[in-house]
């Protein structure tokens, strides 16, 4: 029997929801890595990048209660910003002739490029959020959607920087399973710490009751804007990861399809929980993978193409009807052992 109240154990208990998620993913990555199956590894990396996206969306949506249809816009911004710094040094001028001289002649390291991609997304979020975060409820959601439309259309026409409707090809494929895992862990940790921080707490209070939050001195607009910017930063980094996973970029891949898949993952897992965000990605990714394999046919049996999208849609509907708080029921994965309930300990933790 372990001593019930050592400082170490208390820390473990506090970080338990985080530890479980990171260890769970570690096991999945290690197993897939050891099989050496290339197709499976592709699915895994895509899943890990989606974890970064969905957890980033959770930071804003889960804590503020405002559904965002626009976060894929930040993924788009981050993806191209990274490509400007890393893509195809010899053909960059051909794909994106409008870039400034510095970017045409210099390449940044993958990690720095991804970080700067996140920063650009965050700066855009700060400016856009300054207007959108003044809205509440469905108006804010529609506002985020309008934001994405603007950036999608602009990037599609801005061919000197983005190659427009055609693709940018030749990004180094540096997003390996372990790189993806590292970014997933960083994002999950950031989301965990943010949710439990005083800012996260204030934001969650405004999600429950905006009037009372304001009456308690919470600057609801400011808290929402902060969360919007942080989540945009991680979405932007996810965009960079995604480009370096596929090795190419098209504006079209960052639009309604990706919005639908990522939001489905969040809703299916449980919108207000970090565990829900991660589990939603894992479950939907597995379902999509199985359906894709069936589409191409296994042992003479095959199902019609596009069945994967249909399957995801049906699962989303079922969850909404039968269990609207998602697989996790909006709960985190709590310490499974008996918790110490002495008021002494609780009061000390307060300080």
């Amino acid at each position: 029997m372990i001593e019930a109240n050592t400082p170490l154990l208390r820390k473990v208990r506090y970080f338990w929801p985080l530890i479980v998620l990171c260890l769970g993913l570690l096991i999945i990555v290690a197993i897939v890595d050891s099989t050496g199956d290339i197709i499976l590894a592709q699915t895994l990396v895509e899943g890990l990048v989606r974890i970064v996206i969905v957890v980033a969306i959770y930071m804003f949506v889960g804590n503020s209660g405002i559904i965002s249809f626009g976060h894929i816009g930040f993924v788009l911004i981050g993806a191209y910003a990274t490509a400007w710094q890393t893509c195809c040094p010899y053909t960059r001028e051909m794909f994106m002739p409008g870039l400034p001289t510095y970017l045409l002649n210099n390449s940044h390291h993958f990690v720095l490029a991804i970080f700067l991609g996140g920063v650009l997304a965050a700066v855009v979020a700060l400016i856009a959020g300054f207007a959108i975060m003044r809205l509440t409820g469905i108006a804010a959601s529609i506002g985020t959607f309008a934001f994405m439309m603007v950036f999608y259309s602009a990037y599609l026409r801005w061919s000197t920087w983005t190659s427009g409707a055609s693709s940018v090809i030749g990004l180094p494929t540096t997003t390996t399973p372990w790189v993806g895992y590292a970014y997933a862990v960083v994002t999950i940790t950031a989301a965990f710490l943010f949710t439990r921080s005083k800012w996260g707490l204030a934001l969650r209070s405004s999600r429950d009751d905006e009037v009372a939050a304001k009456a308690s001195g919470v600057n609801v607009f400011g808290q929402r804007l902060l969360a919007f910017v942080i989540s945009a930063f991680f979405c932007g980094m996810a965009g960079g990861l995604f480009g370096h996973f596929l090795g190419m970029l098209t504006v079209d891949s960052f639009y309604l399809g990706m919005t639908f898949i990522t939001l489905s993952m969040l809703v299916v897992g449980g919108m207000q929980s970090l565990a829900g965000a991660v589990i939603g990605v894992v479950v939907i990714s597995v379902v999509i993978d199985v359906l894709r394999r069936l589409e191409t046919g296994i042992g003479g049996f095959s199902i019609p193409s596009s069945s994967a999208e249909v399957g995801v849609g049906l699962i989303l509907l079922l969850i909404l009807i039968l269990r609207s708080s998602g697989i996790t029921g909006n709960a985190e994965i709590y310490w499974p052992f008996k918790r110490d309930v002495s008021s002494e300990g609780a009061l000390r933790r307060q300080s």
Binding site: K198, L201, A202, R204, S205, R207, D208, D209, V211, A212, A213, K214, A215, S216, G217, V218, N219, V220, Q272, N330, V341, S343, A346, L347, Q350, S351
Partner: protein, 248 residues
């Protein structure tokens, strides 16, 4: 004078909900605003707390004009608000609800003491510290909201209908706590109340509000027979209706 609401008018669209009302609260006082449904009681509190902005008149708190400030700025200035209808944060647990109350403060040591005091004041909250506030009973939620407001360390607390939807014994308990807080900590209170009987028992002074105008104001001690209050409250002479039909 701690709070001075001077001749304010508040409109909902073109409709005037308050027509030039004045209310003052001295430091350490308990002031009640009573009146029937739709009299403008809640509107008065909303105008003080910055949710609504008066179209005319001034709201002065501790010498500063606060009319036109945002709700969170008013809260930061030291007016804590307990809005009508037990606004707890349902998915946050009791402890987190209380911590929201302390987030404007920097005095860590004092926060700790106040936190303990609130738990002593409401032992049931200490027991249910880890439970989501949405799972508490109505009375417990009202205690929680008051506890949260106390933790903002307010100069004055405004409460909208603390008795709304609570069983009579719970209402007694809420008022006991409020009076105790004034006695022990000199808390200044501005309470909106529908029951003039409760108000007469608890308040130092009271205002009777009807149709957006102050009908009567005075020391509770001078109004104890209740006749003038009832007349102001309903707007007609007593005896026109049968005694007993009117339930306060």
């Amino acid at each position: 004078m701690l709070l001075d609401v001077d001749n304010i008018t508040v409109h909902y669209g073109r409709l005037a909900a308050l027509r030039g009302i004045s209310v003052t609260v001295e430091e350490g006082e308990i002031v009640c605003v009573v009146g029937p449904n739709g009299a403008g009681k809640s509107t008065t509190l909303l105008a003080i707390s910055g949710v609504l902005h008066p179209t005319d008149g001034a709201v002065t708190f501790d010498g500063k004009n606060i009319a036109g400030m945002s709700p969170e700025a008013v809260a930061r200035a030291g007016i804590s608000q307990v809005p009508e209808g037990r606004h707890v944060f349902t998915t946050l647990n009791v402890e987190e609800n209380l911590r929201i109350g302390t987030r404007m403060r920097k005095d860590r040591a004092e926060i700790e003491k106040d936190y303990k005091r609130v738990l002593e004041l409401f032992p049931v909250l200490a027991e249910r510290r880890r439970q989501p506030a949405g799972k508490l009973s109505g009375g417990e939620q009202q205690m929680l909201v008051i506890g949260r407001a106390l933790l903002t360390s307010p100069r004055i607390m405004t409460i909208d209908e603390p008795s709304l939807g609570l069983a009579p014994n719970l209402v007694d308990r809420v008022y006991e706590v409020l009076l105790e807080l004034r006695r022990n900590r000199g808390l200044t209170l501005l309470i909106v109340e529908q029951s003039s009987e409760r108000a007469l028992k608890a308040a130092d002074r009271l205002y009777v509000l009807r149709s957006g105008e102050i009908q009567l104001e005075g020391k509770a001690a001078d109004l104890q027979d209740g006749k003038r209050v009832r007349q102001a409250y309903f707007g007609f002479e007593e005896g026109v209706t049968h005694e007993g039909e009117v339930d306060f």
